[in-house]
Amino acid sequence: MTTKSSPAVRVLGWLSAVTLALTAVMALVVTPGDVNMGDSVRLLYLHVPTAWLAMYVAFGLTTLASALYLWKRTRSRFWDLTAGASAEIGVLFLGLTLLIGSLWGRITWGVWWTWDARLTTTAVLFVLYVGYLAVRKVPASPEVQSRRAAIVAIAAFLDVPIVHYAVEWWRTLHQDASLGSPQRVLDPQITGTMAWTLLLGVVAFTLLYCWLMAHRFRLAWMEDRLADRAMQIAIEERRAEAEVAAS
């Protein structure tokens, strides 16, 4: 097994690095500030892509892969490892979403956190998938571990709309007067270069996600092989002991 990744993956890596750098330059230097929220909009060029990639792509893939693993006809280690790798990257991206969002909130509202619908739902989502990653790490036989994790992933997915609606309802009832109408503040006028920069950011993070997935999946696959080998060695040692004892 080589340590070098395939040329395609390396190209992916460079492409994502370039597009990320370009996004940063566009976001920080080229684009203007927003009419309503000023310079803080520059954080959104990172915040929105990480949020979308985490919630729709990463966790979506985790759910899909978990379902495919649970379905007998498509069951294979591949889907289990994919689910885990994607969830880990999703948690990473979502964590960044919360971090950047918190900084944005500090600028816009003067507070590091507020219980508005989106933030609250995102926080619960974050903890849900941290829990999923924790379940993956609990030792058990491989099939048990994978199946249990897959069920937790499906349950987490089922929970997302519930949490979303509950919190939405709750927050529309309790509009925090000091923040004004969140709608106007949270949806800036995205036009022209700003729209293109946002799109660029989404593309950049998508490329980054793919590159990270390629590596993280490979790593998970290697860990799986290593665990298999360790198991084989243990079995062979046991067998050797038994033979010595018998002779």
Binding site: V124, A140, R148, V163
Partner: protein, 222 residues
């Protein structure tokens, strides 16, 4: 399936009554939490009455976790879990039985906590029908979801710390909806509680269904 459920529920409740862990430990713990909240919040009775519903449901949630963990701890003694698997009882039935037993304990807990909240926090009882409905819907949801995640965490050495991590985000909407519905009832506008009760019902339905379907396979692997 239903007969198996009654069988398992009866067994769990009998174990509970004989060991009296619920009465001796969980309920006093819950009342203690109510008292500790009062210290920590350092509030006058008016504020405590206002936050009463929220604190009530938080306490139910945390104490409920103890009841759920207990529900599976009793299976780990003497390999009872293996006996359960080999008994030929229907997986869905075992789930319903366990969840029902947990729900029964939660109901008892809620009665005691309701008294606590009335006496200690000065909450005035109003909108009894809405309160009752909320408690039923929320309890079923808590018991069902808790039992599902309880079996996922069961048999794992890290069970005690894993279960809360897994189940609290899932139960957060229940906490939210139940507290808001109770607030509406106590404020004299029970009609506002209806959307929340609807959500609690949807939640309970989803998790009871999920439990009946998934519990058997999950138990096989615990």
């Amino acid at each position: 399936m239903w007969r198996d459920a009654v069988l398992v529920a009866g067994k769990d409740l009998r174990v509970e009554v004989r060991s009296r862990v619920g009465i001796n430990q969980v309920i006093p713990f819950a009342v203690l939490v109510l008292i500790v909240f009062a210290f920590a919040l350092d509030s006058d009775r008016a504020t405590l009455a206002a936050v009463g519903p929220g604190l009530f449901w938080v306490t139910v949630l945390f104490s409920g976790l103890l009841a759920i963990q207990r529900s599976f701890v009793i299976e780990s003694d003497d390999d009872a879990r293996d006996a359960l698997r080999l008994s030929g009882l229907d997986g869905g039935g075992i789930f319903l039985g366990k969840a029902a037993a947990v729900a029964a304990q939660l109901v008892l807990l809620e009665v005691v906590l309701a008294l606590g909240v009335i006496v200690l926090y000065g909450v005035q009882l109003r909108g009894a029908a809405m309160l009752l409905l909320t408690c039923v819907a929320a309890t079923v949801g808590l018991a069902a979801a808790g039992t599902v995640y309880g079996v996922i965490a069961a048999g794992l050495r890290v069970r005690d710390t894993l279960l809360p991590l897994l189940v609290l985000p899932v139960l957060a909407p229940v906490l939210l909806a139940a507290a808001r519905a109770c607030e509406a009832a106590l404020a004299g506008t029970p009609a506002e509680g209806w959307p929340w009760v609807r959500m609690l019902t949807v939640f309970a339905t989803i998790y009871v269904t999920f439990g009946v379907v998934a519990f058997g396979p999950l138990l096989e692997e615990a």
